[in-house]
């Protein structure tokens, strides 16, 4: 097996009485791509939040390359890229300024080349001078994606990345994600689109009421049959 990159041990998150994530264990090596499916409110976003260090677990902990996440340390954050439901973008800054701002926070120095190149890749090159609030929904999602991957992270956490993308942008994203399967990265993706989700995954999980109700690999998943399987798992558990 390849080197372990991202692990979760007994991870749990509660919001007052609501148990959003409940005892999730996980270990992902280099080059692995985990897709998490699950009904609304199953705790997928909360799980990603904890894996990315955006949220402290109520119980349990996360390890990156064997190191327990230290919230006061910032070094490991260079390795992580997060795309969440909310874009983390400033509406009043332009597309270019948003990326430049994040680039500087990550200590990148080649922003003058990097930014146009990335914008080209997500098809936003002609909007570089637009303020974010002037962008359409899908353009914003493209920009969030560019932002999340700007610093070439090794660990990539994507929460419903296909949201709002038109068919060609979805195609581009598929290409980008396939490009990430270069054996050096670890990806966790949450999506509701079974087809898109299965396409690139090396591993698949179905989260229900906070727990992983089912886990498997590509091989366990028989194409068309997966949809029925998903519904069976979800109904069996919730």
């Amino acid at each position: 097996m390849t080197r372990l990159v991202l692990e979760a041990k007994g991870l749990a998150r509660e919001y007052g009485p609501v148990v959003a994530v409940d005892d999730v264990n996980l270990s992902l090596g280099e080059g692995e791509f985990l897709t998490v499916f699950g009904p609304n409110g199953a705790g997928k976003s909360s799980l990603l939040g904890m894996l990315g260090g955006a949220m402290r677990p109520t119980r349990g902990h996360v390890l990156i390359r064997g190191q327990r996440l230290a919230y006061s340390d910032v070094e490991w954050r260079h390795q992580v890229g997060i795309l969440s439901h909310r874009g983390f973008l400033y509406g009043q800054l332009t597309v270019e300024e948003n990326l430049r701002f994040y680039g500087r926070l990550f200590g990148l120095t080649d922003l003058d080349q990097r930014i146009p190149e990335r914008l080209e890749r997500v098809g936003l090159a002609d909007r570089i001078r637009f303020q974010v609030r002037q962008l359409s929904h899908g353009m914003r999602q493209r920009l969030s994606l560019a932002r999340a991957l700007l610093h070439d992270p090794d660990v990539i956490l994507l929460d419903e990345p296909y949201t709002g993308l038109d068919p060609s942008a979805a195609g581009v994203l598929r290409g980008v994600l396939a490009g990430l399967r270069d054996g050096r990265r670890t990806v966790v993706m949450v999506t509701h689109n079974l087809k898109e989700g299965l396409e690139l995954a090396t591993r698949v999980a179905i989260q229900v009421s906070g727990r992983f109700a089912w886990e498997g690999t590509q091989a366990d998943v028989g194409g068309e049959a997966f949809e029925r399987h998903y519904h069976r798992v979800v109904e069996g558990r919730s």
Binding site: S72, Y90, L93, E97, F106
Partner: protein, 226 residues
């Protein structure tokens, strides 16, 4: 260290660009300052009260209230598209975020307080003479101390369900010592006394600002972690 400073600069740059684009805070603070000056011009009977006696107090009141208006909005800007979370998940030490926010707020508040000084001098016909430099120094230190505390507590009150309402309740009690030093020294300087006479007070103001900055930089991380 170079990255640290560059990160701080990036955040300050971003905050100031946003402020210039929207002019939200400077407009509110400026409007308040001018209104306050006008208010007092009309509410104080200058036959029974000498303007010099109240000017220092009024300038500081305006500074405190105006500062509250400005500082309270610091984290609003960030909350729009959850941008604060973007900041917190980037490799920027929390104290750098705090320092950057504080400095950006300081820049705004300092400008406003100098503005207020100018407006008051004009309206009340104060003769600041050679003490202008000293007064500006006092206001600068006061603003710094204020934003150092204010930024920390703004982060706290934004995180509660009470929002901005909580901010004055938390900061006012802590500000009183600073206001006492500030008003006394400003008052004396306006009255034309030499700077030496208030040097001790100014030192205390400086000490207050530094202590507040240090405490803020140390404690901020506990406020924003999630």
């Amino acid at each position: 260290m170079r990255t640290y400073i560059d990160q701080i600069r990036a955040i300050i740059w971003k905050d100031l660009v946003l402020e210039l684009r929207t002019r939200e805070r400077i407009a509110a603070m400026g409007a308040f300052a001018v209104l306050a000056a006008i208010l007092f011009n009309f509410s104080i009977d200058t036959t029974s009260t000498r303007p010099e006696d109240v000017a220092a107090g009024l300038i500081w009141m305006t500074l405190v209230f105006g500062g509250l208006l400005g500082v309270g909005r610091t984290f609003y800007l960030e909350s729009q598209d959850n941008a604060l979370l973007g900041l917190l998940t980037s490799p920027v030490p929390k104290d750098a975020i705090y320092l950057a926010k504080t400095l950006a707020n300081f820049a705004l508040l300092f400008i406003v307080s100098v503005l207020v000084l100018g407006v008051f001098a004009l309206f009340f016909g104060l003769d600041l003479g050679a003490n202008v430099g000293g007064i500006i120094l006092v206001l600068g230190l006061g603003s710094l101390g204020f934003v150092a505390l204010g930024t920390l507590f703004a982060a706290i009150s934004t995180g509660t369900t009470m929002g901005e309402t909580l901010l004055p309740i938390l900061v006012f009690p802590l500000l009183v010592p600073m206001v006492i030093y500030g008003v006394t020294s400003t008052g004396r300087l306006i009255a034309g006394r030499p700077f030496d006479e208030v040097e001790g007070n100014v030192r205390m103001l400086g000490a207050f600002a530094v202590a507040a900055l240090a405490a803020g930089a140390m404690l901020f991380r506990y406020v924003v972690e999630d």
